[in-house]
């Protein structure tokens, strides 16, 4: 990221280190994103108007659209029941009748992958919404409130940041029990600190901007200044970063369901498919391979799109 990034520069002015998230730290993932971002030279598609279509990005969009379709209406993509078990058909390798093979209960892996999109996307979206919503409130309160409030909130955030996301989510699940909604909330809460810190840093930048000063001088009500001027300007870059956070939360959700904290069987879920499949790695590789590929592609697509938005918002797209 260039220093022109409003978030980074805001953080710099606020005297803060760069936040730990939300860009995935995995070097392999960074390398893949780098590939997706590389502009294509001499592409015939680049001649269409001003827009340069990057195939990587286009693929990411198409994959995301397919995912959304699978989440909204999985039965349009597959006519096979993801719960139709037939023990005698278990562990069949990919073939013309089962394109991606069958699992340990003889169920079609492709159908389960497609029906598993909804919980995965739901995990990413809802938990990010929770994290963002609470994060905005805490961040605004810290950035605009009195020093005491700021100090209290930021120390709390520091404490929460000391725990890795996954650990924090596990603590919450341990206290409030298992289930899809608890897991969603747990992952959401675990992402609050990241967002709260970004919102606070951004608010500190916007708070002293001339247009805010002008609105205050004109005698606008304080609430109106916050809602009409501070919030929209502070939030924009964070919303974009939140899309990348969705990918991160999908991974956290899959990790939790891999550890057995997701939906109970026989619900199709990518993380639990992986967890079951790992015992059969040596003799039924397809049980692990396909859910892994699905998770990687989903996260890479969402992250690529988010980063593209980020670049555009900085006015230096393409």
């Amino acid at each position: 990221m260039k220093p022109t990034n409003p978030v980074a520069s805001g953080l710099a002015r606020a005297g803060l280190r760069s936040p730990p998230g939300p860009l995935p730290g995995n070097p392999a993932l960074r390398a893949m994103l780098g590939l997706l971002r590389r502009p294509t030279r001499a592409s015939p598609l680049a001649t269409r108007g001003d827009a340069t279509v990057r195939p990587g990005l286009a693929l990411a969009w198409l994959f995301l659209i397919a995912l959304l379709l699978a989440a909204i209406a999985p039965h349009w993509l597959t006519g096979v029941d993801p719960l139709a078990a037939a023990a005698r058909n278990a562990y069949l390798p990919p073939s013309s009748s089962h394109w991606l093979g069958t699992d340990e209960n003889g169920r079609d892996v492709l159908a389960r992958l497609i029906h598993g999109v909804r919980p995965s996307l739901l995990m990413g979206l809802v938990s990010t919404a929770i994290g963002l919503g609470v994060g905005i409130i805490l961040g605004l309160a810290a950035g605009l409130g009195p020093r005491l409030v700021d100090g209290a909130i930021m120390r709390l955030i520091d404490v929460l940041l000391a725990f890795p996301d996954l650990l924090l989510a596990l603590v919450i699940i341990t206290f409030w029990g298992q289930g899809l909604w608890i897991t969603l909330i747990a992952v959401g809460v675990a992402s609050i600190p990241r967002f709260a810190r970004m919102v606070r840093a951004q608010t500190l930048v916007v708070r002293d901007a001339p247009y805010v000063e002008a609105a205050t001088t004109l005698g606008r009500h304080r609430a109106a200044v916050v809602l009409r001027h501070v919030l929209p300007n502070a939030i924009k870059p964070i919303l974009i970063l939140a899309t990348i956070g969705i990918g991160h939360n999908i991974i956290t959700g899959a990790a939790l369901s891999f550890l057995g904290f997701g939906a109970s069987p026989p619900a199709p879920e990518w993380g639990s498919m992986l967890a079951m499949g790992r015992n059969y790695l040596a003799n039924a590789w397809w049980l692990v391979a396909w859910p892994s590929v699905a998770i990687i592609l989903t996260v890479v697509s969402i992250t690529a799109i988010g980063r593209d938005w980020l670049a555009r918002s900085e006015g230096k797209s393409r």
Binding site: A66, E104, N105, P266, N279, Y280
Partner: protein, 570 residues
């Protein structure tokens, strides 16, 4: 090239958009890979040489062993863990053993007499046995051990129940002990041969019973050197050991210098360490990898059956709706495809089962093995007869406005992986019955079990070396109550079955026992308290450098005293 990108996309979209239709594949080959000889009548017999040493081994070396689970304690009297079957044989000895044909044979007791009324047992003990702390094994040691088993402080879940009819003992002389029973109890000698009833140093029991859990002192062929919970243990040979059971034909100390046991919960790791020579032996060979292991030149797979009760796919609570109706229980039993279950859990290693005793149990009667066999039409007929004729929108049967539905509780474990729960659910749905699966941690399951708050519980097996396992699981005396624990999870109380199983406990006559146990096995297929799915099997694998392996006649698990490592050992 952009074209490549677009074609890749087309492929991706194609994969996503087209639905795969699936005609049923042929059922997996049901080649049975169980050790031993399974005859046409369905009876299993093992080669006698599986149980005794056939040639002398070379002393020395360290055997690296892996197992899936930690037993958590070496105080075998306080445990019911399955690992005790082989673990106790490393550090302890038992009073008795069994021969190749299942008859009781000597170990620490040279001989014994049973009074005509079946209530007094006199044991004549060996006089040359010592524990590793120097204590002598004698009549007093035996008395102290029996007391420790039934001491409430031991909290024994198994040993105490097995010797429940024992009232008191009399020390006649240093090496003669007389045990008095409350009532005739023919399994008494058999249970004394089981690992859970091993002999612990009387000094340790008297002075520091708590220390048995981590620093056990036994009279066995090896001494525990170190133990780290959930990680492993190291055992070293006892040089002065010379009292292996005569049946094993092993003379003198064990061949191995050391045994290093590692606890490896990951199936893949147990397989790969064995394959890459980082371990020599696994006591829990993953069924999914046995095909590869059998194909390997350097590995040997053994597949043995434990006596008594086979694995159950589920046990019904016969007091609760809908399983208070025997027709519903029978229908579920007939609806579950045991061949399918054996395949998904055992990859062709497991022997499907629909009756209530393991094929190698004494007095097993194969006559009723097909009464509850997989038969969807029969299951549907049973449910129709029981009045479950209407169907709701989801295809489930309803009667008087109530859906034919039950909760199936389970704990993720080798006898009951969630894939088996899902298969049971899918099979039941095919006959219009709904199972709601609830997989939960063991502690939560135990609570629900103790409170009697369940419709059906998945999994479970009961291994013992006599058909009296049926009494433990299905006699009305074995029901749990607020004041006593019990293993009759079905809460079955059938006067006819009770009468047969009680009579069998009093009898020593093989012909009478055969008649009683045959009738009991028949009765079980009529009252259907549970659905057996496959035999309870011991799958082990080891490198070919491991020689001299024999099996325990009591548990059919490895007996390490006679194991030795060949010259080519890594």
């Amino acid at each position: 090239m952009p074209i490549n990108h677009w074609s890749r996309f087309g492929l991706l979209l194609g994969l996503l958009l087209v639905s795969a239709c699936s005609p049923d594949a042929p059922p997996p080959s049901s080649v049975q890979r169980v050790d031993g000889h399974l005859d046409a009548q369905g009876l299993l017999s093992y080669d006698p040489s599986d149980y005794h040493e056939t040639r002398q081994g070379t002393p020395g070396g360290t055997l690296r062993v892996s197992a899936a689970l930690d037993t958590g304690t070496f105080d075998v009297h306080s445990s019911y863990h399955g690992n005790v079957q082989w673990l106790a044989r490393i550090v302890y000895d038992c009073l008795l053993y069994q021969d190749e044909n299942g008859k009781i044979s000597p170990w620490l007791a040279k001989s014994w007499d049973v009074s005509p009324d079946g209530k007094t047992y006199t044991f004549h003990l060996r006089d040359d046995v010592t524990f590793s702390d120097g204590e002598k094994f004698n009549a007093e040691a035996l008395r102290v051990n029996l007391e420790h088993m039934r001491d409430p402080a031991t909290k024994s879940p198994l040993a105490a129940a097995y010797i429940a009819p024992y009232v008191d003992g009399r020390i006649i002389d240093d090496y003669t002990f007389e045990a008095h029973l409350r009532e005739p109890y023919s399994p008494f000698l058999y249970v004394l041969a089981q690992s859970w009833l091993s002999m612990v140093s009387p000094k340790q029991i008297r002075e520091a019973p708590k220390s048995i859990a981590e620093h056990p002192i036994g009279s066995g062929p090896f001494v525990l050197q170190s133990y780290t919970r959930e990680q492993g243990a190291t055992f070293t040979r006892r040089a002065d050991y010379h009292w292996a059971p005569p049946v094993t034909r092993h003379i003198g100390p064990a061949y191995l210098d050391r045994i290093e046991l590692s606890i490896v919960p990951e199936a893949m790791t147990r397989y790969s360490t064995l394959q890459s020579k980082r371990s020599d032996f696994t006591l829990d060979a993953p069924a999914q990898n046995t095909a590869a292991m059998r194909a390997s030149q350097n590995l040997v797979v053994r597949n043995r059956i434990r006596m008594a009760s086979p694995y159950r796919s589920l046990t019904f609570n016969t007091l609760r709706f809908p399983f208070d109706d025997v027709r519903v229980r029978k229908a579920v039993a007939q609806a579950i495809d045991r061949d399918g279950l054996a395949w998904i859990a055992g990859f062709g290693e497991f022997l499907p089962k629909s009756d209530y005793l393991a094929v190698n149990t004494p007095f097993y009667d194969p006559a009723y093995r097909d009464v509850l066999k997989y038969d969807v039409d029969a299951a549907n007929r049973q449910l129709d007869e029981a009045g479950w004729t209407a169907r709701d929108a989801e295809g489930y049967r309803v009667k008087n406005g109530r859906r034919l539905s039950a909760h199936l509780l389970g704990f993720e474990s080798p006898p009951f992986p969630s894939s088996v729960a899902v298969a049971v659910q899918a099979d039941a749905k095919k006959v219009g019955m709904q199972f709601i699966i609830e997989m939960m941690p063991l502690a939560q399951l135990t609570d629900r079990r103790t409170a009697g708050n369940y419709d059906a519980i998945g999994g479970g097996y009961w291994h013992t070396n006599t058909p009296d396992g049926l009494y433990i699981l299905y006699h009305s005396d074995s029901r749990a109550s607020p004041t006593k624990s019990g293993n009759n999870l079905s809460n079955l109380s059938d006067p006819r079955l009770d009468q047969l199983l009680s009579a069998a406990r009093r009898s020593h006559d093989p012909r009478e026992l055969q008649a009683l146990y045959s009738a009991a096995q028949q009765r079980l297929t009529e009252v259907v308290p549970a659905v057996p799915d496959f035999e309870s099997q011991v799958l082990i694998a080891y490198r070919t450098a491991v020689k001299g392996l024999i099996f325990d006649t009591v548990h059919n698990t490895p007996f390490f005293t006679s194991v030795w490592l060949d010259q080519e050992a890594p």
